[in-house]
């Protein structure tokens, strides 16, 4: 038994199951981060005073991290484009770079976190740090999750390329959509937390 429309598109929707599935998942993710942003707005507008992010957080490191994540988005989309051009070797290079850049992001984040802890700044210190650690922590979990999926497609998952290249390219595209979404969230997190 084969589920239809895993590889070929259904004619009236023009989409595969996976494409709809990943977008629905991203819609729910929008609401997840939306609730955290809503909390940020409510708590900040209710607070008598609110620190500017750059007085507590390290803007140069975060700017670097923003550039890293944006670059990883480009390598991700290039990985997919390489598959569309049937260049499996190039795909592996770009996919590897994407994972590596994700790793760099996490390492920088680790130094940021540990620097805060060394200075006695914890989530419990004040609500600015509470929302900072919660939002970036949840975002880091997403980065980690995306890296795991990408690593799967670089490693054991890439066997599918030999048997069904079209399906494999679709899967990489979907994993890319998630990765770009994680990048997109960071694009909003960065000014909200660090610059305002």
């Amino acid at each position: 038994m084969d589920i239809p429309y895993t590889v070929e598109v259904r004619r009236d929707t023009g989409l595969t199951n996976g494409k709809i599935g990943i977008w629905l998942f991203l819609a729910s993710e929008v609401m997840l981060f939306g609730a955290l942003f809503a909390s940020y707005i409510l708590i900040r507008t209710g607070a008598p005073s609110w620190p500017r992010g750059d007085t507590i957080l390290n803007v140069p490191l975060a700017t670097f991290n923003t550039l890293v994540l944006i670059s990883s988005s480009v390598t991700m989309v290039m990985a997919w484009a390489s598959l569309m051009r049937h260049r499996f070797g190039t795909f592996r290079i770009y996919m590897g770079a994407t994972i590596l850049l994700g790793f760099v992001f996490l390492v920088v984040k680790y130094f940021e976190y540990s620097h805060k802890f060394e200075n006695g700044l914890y989530p419990s210190t004040n609500n600015f740090l509470a929302i900072y650690f919660t939002l970036t922590g949840l975002h880091m979990l997403h980065v980690f999750g995306g890296m795991m999926v990408n690593a799967y497609f670089l490693g054991p998952g890439s066997k599918l390329w030999k048997t069904n290249p079209e399906w494999f390219a679709n899967r990489v595209e979907h994993s890319g959509l998630f990765w770009h979404f994680v990048d997109l969230v960071w694009i909003f997190l960065f000014p909200t937390l660090y610059l305002l």
Binding site: T6, A35, L42, S124, T134, L138
Partner: protein
Amino acid sequence: MTEPAAVAAPKPHIAHEVPHEALGFWRKYVFSTDHKVIGIQYAITGLLFLLFGFSLMMLMRWQLAYPGAALPLLGRLLGEARMPGGTMLPEFYNELGAMHGTIMVFLGVVPLAVGGFGNFVVPLQIGAQDMAFPRLNMASYWSFFLGGVTMLASFLVPGGAAQGGWTSYTPLSVLAGTGQTMWLIGMIFLITSSLLGAINFITTIIQLRAKGLTFLRFPFFVWTQFVTAFLLLLAFPPLEAAAVMQLMDRVAGTSFFLPSGLVVSGQVVAVAGGGNPLLWQHLFWFLAHPEVYVLILPGMGIVAEIIANNTRKPLWGYRSMVYSLVFLGFMSFIVWAHHMFMTGMGTAMAAFFQTTTMIISIPSVVILTALIISLWGGSIRFNTPMLFAVAFLPMFGIGGLTGLPLGLNVADIPLHDTYYVIAHFHYVVAPGTIFALFAGIYYWFPKATGRKMNETLGKIHFFGSLVCMNVVFMPMFLMGLAGVSRRLFDGGASYAFAQPVLHLNVVSSWGAWTLAIFQIPFIFNFFWSIWKGEQTDGNPWQATTIEWAAPSPPPHGNFPVAPEAYRGPYEYSVPGAAKDFLPQYEA
């Protein structure tokens, strides 16, 4: 696409290379990816949780009817930490209350209505072989299962289960014991499960519907599941975020929900402060109001199927019902703060939310009215599923109409914290949704097993339950109107003004215990019929929708040939036709 050199095998699926019949016991019945097996797993787990949640309530009803009296036998078994000498401790009462609500909503009704009926029936009704993502479906069930186990285990941790009500209002819940942490972790599993399920349902309904099955040819049940899935998909994530924040408050010492200068037992709590307890309520009700519709919509869908089938008539106003349903789903996202009129909301926003609430009552009334008019002039077959479905109409009607005063800011304030609210939403969910779910079990049992459930036992179950449900909940309206608070450990015994209505507690309690007795015929019937019930063919109810084209029980892959839809879902008693029903799947 020019295929790479090494390509030869066109086979798209690796996972399905092993034929289903060759799978071992574990893969076939436990870690199955077949939507029917998962549906039945969900349904049975959901039914067990319903029974368990009901048992918690029966214990509470003892304390409410006879405050402070020792419960014979069972009381001592529950131990000194809960019921010393058989008398219930207030803390244990609170645990029972919080977990009754949580279990009934998140582990009982929703898994049965969406996970059970949705999984089993929807792919069959749209003529699909399975769900779009079978492995995701399995993950959804097991995530639900883990959530359930976490919730159950929370009774055993020191200090017992969560005591903050099913709403887990802050700041109380942040300061509560370990049980609350378990509750939050359990909720995160349950939310994950629902999200996976919702993605799967929407994709399946859009992509895998049979040839010719356009959206306006969907059975109403499919429509209800479709809208429900969207509610789950978009309303649950904010509660997940809120659960994460409450977990942070409890574990990492943040103050999302703790205001500055919070005083507990005369001591200022040592937290940073600056948080807002109302934030939790907003995020909670952003889910929990749509959740009300998650509870009721699948029930309406089941009732619509059974009414059309047993009146042998098309549903009256099918299109209006569908449009109402979609509108209702949309509106359900912007009415949530009517649960919060008591929190010192300003008049402008109160007016906004009471207006949206009045607006959302219109589509519900349209659907209910269409179902009632559908009965008109039909030659009705009063079999057990139909009895439950017909009873749903007035019971849900009572629940819905008594909700209107609660949607109005001014009327809500005196009523909100009384038993009136308990009576209102239990009429919606207990004799409402749960009756619809019973109807669905009797109706689709032959599809799942190939045998019908016994009619006599079914009727005993129905009439007993109908009477008892009303004996349980009708007195609560009176107590609520008399002003008795819904959160009292002694049921109001210590309040002078409650004395004239106090005897109603005893009536409710005996109603609840008798209700339990009337579930015994159902439980017996359920198991007995699996092996000994009257054998049936594929379409025992002479129904029109596509699930009846499959053999009973349907094999893996469901249909011998892929069905096609040629007409709308309820072509009953068509003039000039040879039989009184024209199935969707017959050319």
